[in-house]
Symmetry: C2
Subunit: 334 residues, 2 copies
DNA sequence: CTGAAAGCGCTTACAG
DNA sequence: CTGAAAGCGCTTACAG
């Protein structure tokens, strides 16, 4: 049995003493620089590290370097499936570059988002990833903070911060065009009331290009519930659209559920196309056809934008892809 | 316009100088101790803080205190809806106690779980929350680390670590009993191959108590796909169980989707009860009846177990609740 | 190739 | 009630 309660943790001084070198040398070995170390000395140090079970104190290193090898991630709500998948991808991508992700939900009641941003910076994160919508004030704050920052998922290139995302309008057009190919002419859009949602614009554009009158335009919250509420109203009313483009998979899922609960058939009565490409919409029935955002690529690019800004353009817009399932009326053999 | 590139951040020395006090006093004010400060002096310090826009360097504080005001959370995959919700609840609960959560996915390829645990500790987290299953070796490691640790969601009280979770067996019994009340007698269980899953035991116990022969016992992975695969096999075969208890909502959802895709009606042909109580299963159709784990309470208790261990028993087992929807055969007016 | 030493920005016993 | 100073455990210019 080993002793418990090892009161004083092993420090680099212990390692230096054990290996018979200076503490500087221990650092050189552990960090592979900035100075070279003789092979034999290096061996002795590594041995000491092994024997003593030494682990660097990362808080000390962070203080010394002014940087904690962490990246701060601000997300509105990590439970949202799309953002959960994005968080996961970001976690992997930052781990690839040996950074930890400090994830913070901005829907906290107790503290303002600005406060959270400041706290992240106080912790010496080397960069900020913003996966939620900022107010003008919050954005101004970030800019004065003078820390590498990238917006992900949503950004306007009017502002000063770097951004990674998809072309919402093109994605929406793709979805609507697919519905048009099915022969539907009455195509509604369900999305948020945000001022300039590219998805809403893309919906409109695709209909215009096909000489179709826009169908109903419904604004709701970005959540299962938002879609569900709309679905209930539609199911009760008498003016069902023939097809719907939903601005998110969550909305699409809530909509689908309410419609079916209300006895409306999907896709026979109402066809649905979602947006995001989350895994979850492949596990409802009918499975939801959706516009896929390439989240691994987005995550990878966002991390690069932070750590190697010169290798990445200021704004990166990825193309989306249509994942065809049954909710649009296609019959998929799978 | 304000200057950009503020090279040297404001430190507590600047504040002290501006306020005409020592740096110690600044600390006393900012930390409300350990010494009292005269009201007027305090005012001057707070003023200086405001004017200079001072923010403490949390890495320095962490080094000094040997503790970073962070809690490390190890989760297998934050995309799993139940764990996403648990992470969110833990985030809120730790924010209530002004700790940040350092979330780490243990499904990373590049690095072992033990390595991740060590890294968390190196970062001076003041506690560890383990929301994933540890190997014996990993668990032994955690114990030698001598840091406050709590397992959440899953724990065996044979081991040395504190734990918070639900009574899996009782929860499963509750689910099965509900299916029995519906009059079903052929009730299957779909879960993992883990050695001692309380849910499997509870299923068996409830059937035994009702003098019913256990139905099929199917082992699969804990994922949408695991449930989907089983559902496809069942739909193709000719031996459909009349009812199923799934060990997780994800399994239940995958199962439901595959069954419906295969033309099997739920609940008319096969009734389903899930486990976890995630939000998502309220947004599939039919909505899935599920055994709810009280995740806010669990999260709150886990955080308390770490920060105020004396106020919490070593093992806390919460009761589950049945959330009745349509998948079991109930008709819910909602 | 190696070491002595200053510095990072806090906290906190100790003295007054 | 306040301050001077040591200490936390690293990194890294500087000197040799």
């Amino acid at each position: 049995m080993s002793d418990d309660a090892r009161p004083r943790p092993v420090t680099r001084a212990d390692v230096a003493r054990y290996a018979g070198v200076s503490t500087a040398v221990v650092s050189y070995v552990l960090n592979d620089g900035p100075k070279a170390v003789a092979p034999l000395t290096k061996e002795r140090v590594l041995d000491a590290v092994r024997v003593l079970g030494y682990r660097p104190n990362l808080a000390a290193r962070a203080l010394s370097k002014g940087q904690a090898d962490m990246l701060g991630l601000l997300v509105n709500d990590n439970r949202n499936p799309f953002f959960a998948e994005l968080c996961h991808a970001l976690d992997q991508a930052s781990a690839d570059r040996s950074k930890q992700l400090l994830i913070v939900n901005s829907d906290r009641m107790q503290v303002t988002t600005s406060e959270q941003i400041r706290d992240l910076v106080s912790r010496q994160v080397s960069g900020l990833i913003i996966a939620s919508v900022l107010t003008a004030g919050e954005q101004a704050l970030v800019e004065t903070l003078n820390i590498p920052t990238v917006m992900i998922g949503q950004f306007g290139d009017t502002d000063g911060l770097a951004g990674v995302g998809v072309d919402f309008a093109a994605g929406a057009r793709m979805g609507v065009e697919h519905l048009i190919e099915h022969g539907y002419t009455d195509i509604a859009f369900i999305g948020s009331a945000a001022r300039h949602d590219g998805r809403e614009r893309g919906w409109r554009e695709a209909l215009g290009a096909a000489q179709l009158t826009p169908g109903a335009l419904v604004h709701t919250t970005f959540s299962y519930e938002g879609g569900y509420d709309v679905g209930q109203q539609l199911a009760r009313g008498d003016a069902l659209p023939r097809a719907v483009l939903a601005a998110s998979d969550q909305i699409a899922t809530g909509l689908l559920t309410a419609l079916r609960q209300g006895g409306v058939r999907v896709p026979e009565d109402v066809a649905i196309v979602g947006f995001d490409g989350t895994t979850a919409v492949d596990y409802v029935w009918p499975r939801i056809t959706t516009v896929v955002q390439p989240r691994e690529q987005m995550a990878e690019t966002a991390i690069r934008a932070l750590l190697e800004p010169d290798t990445v353009p200021r704004y990166v817009e990825f193309a989306t892809q249509l994942r065809v399932r049954e909710s649009c009326g296609c019959s998929v053999t799978d």
